[in-house]
């Protein structure tokens, strides 16, 4: 009856304990390497973006951030 869907929901909630971060801070060596950087020198990136925006109709969503070393 109604108990079965309720139990299913409870089981689902029970099984879904909040996921733990699976990449530990001490495993982020490769991510901290400059080769994995999403953005480079600000002046160069700004110029490149400018050259594109002037000639293309599309703009936006170029912001990039984060990644790296898990420090602090």
């Amino acid at each position: 009856m109604r108990t079965i869907p309720l139990l299913a929901l409870a089981a689902l909630l029970g099984a879904c304990a909040a996921p733990e971060p699976w990449v530990k801070p001490y495993e982020r060596e490769r991510l901290a390497d400059p080769i994995m950087q999403l953005s480079g020198a600000a002046t160069a990136d700004k110029h490149r973006e400018h050259v594109r925006v002037v000639r293309e109709g599309a703009r936006g969503a170029t912001g990039v951030q984060g990644g790296g070393c898990g420090c602090n």
Binding site: P25, M36, A42, G63, G67
Partner: protein, 366 residues
């Protein structure tokens, strides 16, 4: 003139980039490191040559706030197809100044920046605020950003006759997937209001030149999904796809893919490919055969595709004056543009051209 879109959009983008890029290479929420950059840039394509220097200085005060200032110059000599077929070649200089401040509190980075760009007939000012927050054990970085831009639109021999206002809203997520892979998602909404065209550009209606008529509002959305992965200790691969759509019916897909590799001790090489495909705005026409409320022959809003091939190289130059770690960089890109619905009035065929972008710069961290 053509350059009005330059400053109009750069003022917004620079404000965006100034704040967001402050997170720097190591990611994780720390104050951006002190750095100085000096760039010489050049663009050559379609009869337009734009060159100039750009400088950036960033310094943190008492390990609490990082201040930055940058100066950018564009010396443009314009003999593009629009200019050559409807007017005469011209030269002008655009100067842009940006100042910014970044502040870190635990897992949050707050960036504020302002930009002012000036050219003889266009002034753009913008203010941006960006907040980046590390969540989920440092595996995810969520960022929010807002920029408000205000422009004064002018015309040579007429003066400043109108204004344009812009609002940009940004949402971003960087997610660590594995110790080797990162994924990013960015969403940006841009709303414009005011004079959004160019007083120099003409449209063609029944073969005759008429001043273009653009709507006074535009709202655009862009969604970009990307990823970076480390293949081994020396190389990485990256890629992204951006979909753009707006209320002017412009639709564009941008695909980018690249490969980076350490080729010698500390030398980093980067090769990339960028493909764009765009569908024209609703009121765009190469040669209109009806009188419509809005009409434009702006190539930027036409249907075209482009392929760009890029290569970059960075070489460390060691420590200068004891505490400045200097790196030299060179970047080159060749972009091939092909239009589907813009005619080259000089030859009668579909317009196309190849452009070259060159960057030579030094970066120093201290």
């Amino acid at each position: 003139m053509v350059a009005t879109s330059l400053s109009r959009l750069l003022a917004r983008l620079a404000a965006l980039l100034g704040g967001v890029f402050a997170l720097g290479p190591a990611g994780a929420i720390t104050l951006p490191e002190n750095r100085a950059e000096a760039l010489a840039h050049a663009y050559d394509g379609d009869g337009v040559r734009a060159t100039g220097p750009a400088l950036l200085i960033r310094k943190s005060i008492a390990d609490k706030v990082s201040l930055s200032g940058s100066y950018y110059v564009d010396m443009v000599s314009n003999a593009s197809i629009d200019v050559v077929t409807t007017a005469s070649p011209f030269k002008e200089t655009r100067r842009a100044y940006t100042v910014g401040a970044d502040y870190v509190e635990r897992d949050t980075l707050i960036s504020v920046s302002g930009e002012s760009s000036t050219e003889p007939d266009y002034k753009a000012r913008s203010l941006s605020v960006d907040v980046a927050q590390e969540v989920f054990g440092g595996m995810s970085t969520v960022s929010l950003g807002f920029t408000r831009g205000s422009d004064d639109v002018g015309q040579k021999l007429v003066g400043y006759f109108d204004t344009a206002t812009h609002w940009q809203y940004r949402l971003g997520l960087t997610q660590v997937l594995t110790p080797r892979w990162l994924a990013t998602a960015n969403l940006e909404v841009v709303a414009d209001e005011g004079y959004l065209g160019s007083p120099y550009r003409v449209a063609r209606v029944f073969g005759a030149a008429v001043p273009e008529r653009n709507p006074r509002t535009r709202t655009s959305r862009a969604l970009k999904l990307g990823g970076v992965g480390s293949l081994d200790e020396k190389s990485a691969v990256y890629g992204s796809w951006r979909y753009f759509w707006d209320t002017w019916a412009v639709r564009a897909h941008t695909l980018e893919a690249g490969y980076r590799r350490y080729v010698r001790e500390g030398w980093l090489a980067d090769g990339s490919l960028r493909v764009v495909n765009q569908d024209a705005a609703l009121f765009y026409s190469d040669n209109a055969t009806a009188e419509t409320r809005y009409i434009t022959r702006n190539r930027q809003l036409a249907s075209y595709s482009s392929i760009g091939v890029g290569a970059k190289l960075s070489a460390p130059l060691g420590k200068w004056a004891g505490s400045y770690a200097v790196t030299a960089h060179g970047g080159f890109e060749r972009v091939m543009y092909r239009w589907r619905d813009f005619t080259d009035l000089r030859s009668g065929g579909r317009y196309r051209f190849d452009a070259t972008v060159l960057q030579l710069y030094l970066t120093a961290t201290y």
